[in-house]
């Protein structure tokens, strides 16, 4: 009897202990073993395929978001050693849909970092939406200089290069080549006008002379028409019949006519700009500075090459990851401060560390000068000096900035 009582008491005590331990486990384990992931929002736009020019042109509906996804995978591979997890929350706007609801949803989910893969219009609306003021947005698509100038915001960073940076990168290369006389050919759209303005600014900065400044006045032709080349073979020489120049600089962001120029101009001259030899933040042809590994990772994930919007979205997500790594913290406020600070330096497969300009939130980065199959060069070019860093010879410098935010 006595023995039974003791063993019963012992058993009950043991049961109580087990229950308590279980309860403790239920409360403690999920929190410690499974860290709260850092959620990063991605907001894109549904885009319709443009009129294809050639049979090799490939339209990727997932341009941009694939870069953000790869950024999360890279952040996670590092984070697993530090107990940090990352998660992408993807939203996409239908054509014409305003971004306010999506931003409100992000805010409701407690999301601080948003990759804004948006054109300038929706991006401006997103910044004005309720909840955006507590977020840090990364512009991974819009190259508009106005977003870095008068329309700049304290909570807006840009991982896509501005038009001024692209034009300066190209102009430095043309200066290095000694191709000083430009024939500027400008498309009909406001974006083309903005790109042309950046080219004119770059020409003035780096000592080039725009010998001919002309608008492209033809309607977009359908290059796929059978024997379409016959028409083009007569039209393009007529359209480029101008006084002598060294290089044709084309501003055609919508890709409507620029591709028709190479090999068809009246004078035998190279074509550069938005077609031909292009200035870009990223290109599938880059295999230097260890880029092969990034390109391969991307191709395995997306089944296609990495484009400049993919790269800009990747930079945005990696910036958050890099800051979390360096701080060994998932605190959004601390991460936001660190990203904008002078200690921040991101490795971006372009040969040197990348950081954000304090005066307008633009990521300073080399500009690739890319041919159709190989990388031709990377700017800044040797000899273009700057009191802070040669990277600041590209784009709007501190002294020129009109950003008041």
């Amino acid at each position: 009897m006595h023995d039974d009582g003791v063993s019963r008491r012992r058993r009950r005590r043991a049961e109580r202990l087990v229950t308590a331990l279980l309860a403790l486990l239920l409360f403690v384990v999920p929190g410690s073993a499974e860290p709260q992931p850092i959620a990063i929002g991605y907001l894109g736009q549904t885009r319709s395929p443009p009129m294809p020019l050639g049979p090799l042109d490939h339209f990727a509906a997932d341009d941009g978001v694939q870069g953000a996804r790869l950024g999360i995978a890279d952040d996670d591979s590092t984070g697993r050693f530090l107990g940090q997890r990352f998660r992408l929350v993807e939203r996409s706007l239908k054509p014409g849909e305003p971004p306010q609801d999506a931003i409100r949803q992000f805010a409701g989910e407690g999301i601080t970092f948003v990759v804004a893969d948006l054109d300038a219009g929706p991006l401006t609306q997103a910044l004005a939406a309720t909840g955006a003021e507590r977020m840090l947005l990364f512009n991974s698509r819009a190259s508009d200089d106005s977003l870095r100038q008068e329309a700049c915001r304290k909570n807006l960073l840009h991982t896509i290069p501005s038009r001024a940076m692209l034009a300066d990168g190209l102009a430095q290369y043309l200066a290095w080549k000694g191709w000083r006389h430009w024939f500027l050919l400008v498309g009909p759209h406001p974006e083309d006008q903005a790109m042309a303005a950046a080219f004119r600014r770059a020409a003035a900065r780096f000592g080039a002379e725009i010998s001919v400044d002309q608008a492209w006045i033809f309607r977009p032709a359908n290059g796929r028409a059978d024997t379409g080349h016959v028409t083009l073979q007569t039209e393009i020489p007529a359209a480029t019949q101008v006084a002598d120049y060294d290089v044709l600089v084309v501003a055609d962001e919508a890709d409507e006519f620029g591709a028709y120029l190479e090999g068809r101009t009246a004078l035998p001259r190279p074509v550069v700009g938005t077609q031909g030899l292009v200035a870009t933040g990223w290109s599938a042809v880059n295999q230097e500075w260890g880029a092969t590994q990034l390109q391969e990772r991307f191709r395995r994930q997306a089944g296609r090459w990495m484009m400049s919007s993919d790269y800009a979205a990747w930079l945005a997500v990696r910036s958050v990851g890099e800051a979390a790594t360096r701080l060994n913290s998932v605190d959004p406020a601390a991460i936001s401060v660190y990203i904008r600070g002078s200690e921040f330096l991101l490795a971006g497969f372009k040969g040197q560390g990348l950081s954000f300009r304090a005066w307008d939130g633009q990521m300073r980065q080399p500009i690739l000068i890319a041919g159709s199959r190989l990388l031709v060069s990377s700017s800044p070019q040797p000899g273009f000096l700057h009191q802070r860093t040669p990277l600041d010879t590209l784009g709007i410098d501190l002294e020129e900035s009109t950003c008041k935010s």
Binding site: G290, A347, G353
Partner: protein, 322 residues
């Protein structure tokens, strides 16, 4: 007697001036798909060996009769017989091998597979991958402790150095280092681990056992901006007192006092030195200069660069053998 002195003195002088006799330097030419063979005594190119595509990492076998050459684009390691000066075999490695080390047991290679975020362990005799270790994104630099206990691997995008138990192939620790780490090196006594950072231009030094950071070297070159000073290859002197660090686009090799971590001097070499190696007598240092297609011979007794020797396009790795 006079005659004897006349003959002997120049002989002595020439022996003192050049690197030790019967020494051979091997340099991988990343863009030429060759390994350059350089006679150490005369500092001249004696042969080039055709190897696989995009050769980078190099290492000698324990008996120094075989040179292993990592084929970055060939996904394997070439086995080069140094007597025949030709490829006599191949080892599997997994994808995109860049750098590797021969374990002191002489039987295994530890290879960084840059594309797969893996370190592969290769049995040399069986020509088989016998194990893998998951590491961070883009593993690159490899080092093995002299006692063979630890293998260190840097991961470029994760900015870490991973310490692997060479026996159990378990990860012992993952240490955060500066951005885009490239090379790792253990001190000869195994007590310190050095890791270079390309983007920050630093070397971080750890205590191997406690894994505490014991110091950091920030390289600076007068007249070159911060982003132009990048730290890549590391070579330790046999007595452990000096480390040599290639500074990439700064076109310099730094000589670092391992005790004080002070930079004693900078040597101006060719363009973009990737890796450096010491001669067996420790009197000469050779740097492989990627952009100028040459190697630089540095005389460490007189602290001067003796000679540049063109060896091919894209010199990357360098080792010194008998």
């Amino acid at each position: 007697m006079q005659v004897l002195i006349v003959i002997v003195v120049p002989l002595l002088l020439s022996a003192l001036a050049g690197p030790a006799a019967a020494e051979t330097i091997y340099v991988s030419n990343e863009q030429d798909n060759t390994v350059a063979v350089i006679d150490g005594a005369t500092m001249t190119l004696s042969a080039t060996i055709d190897v696989g595509r995009r050769p980078r990492g190099l290492a000698l076998s324990a008996d120094k009769k075989i040179l292993f050459v990592a084929e970055g684009d060939g996904n394997r390691i070439d086995v080069v017989d140094l007597a025949k000066r030709q490829i006599v075999g191949q080892l599997p490695t997994g994808a995109d091998p860049e750098f590797f080390v021969v374990h002191p047991d002489g039987k295994r290679l530890f290879v960084a597979n840059e594309n797969d975020n893996l370190v592969s362990v290769v049995d040399i005799a069986a020509a088989q991958v016998i194990g893998t270790v998951d590491v961070g994104v883009e593993p690159e630099g490899m080092a093995v402790s002299p006692d063979g206990r630890y293998v260190a691997c840097t991961s470029e995008t994760s900015s870490m150095v991973h310490l692997i138990d060479a026996g159990s192939l378990e990860l012992v620790d993952n240490l955060l280092v500066d951005t885009r780490p490239r090379a790792a090196a253990f001190s000869p006594d195994g007590k310190r681990l050095w890791v270079s950072s390309e983007i920050r231009g630093t070397v971080t030094v750890f205590d191997t056992l406690t894994r505490a950071q014991t110091g950091k070297v920030q390289f600076e070159v007068q007249g070159i901006r911060r982003e132009g000073v990048q730290a890549v290859g590391i070579e330790m002197s046999r007595n452990g007192g000096t480390a040599y660090v290639a500074l990439g686009p700064a076109n310099r090799v730094a000589e670092v006092d391992t005790g004080t971590l002070a930079v004693r001097r900078l040597y101006l070499v060719g363009q973009r030195p990737w890796h450096v190696a010491l001669s067996d007598d420790q009197k000469h240092l050779i740097s492989a200069n990627g952009n100028s297609g040459d190697i630089s011979f540095i005389d460490l007794e007189n602290d001067e660069v003796l000679k540049s020797l063109p060896v091919g396009r894209g010199p990357w790795g360098v080792v010194v053998g008998p």
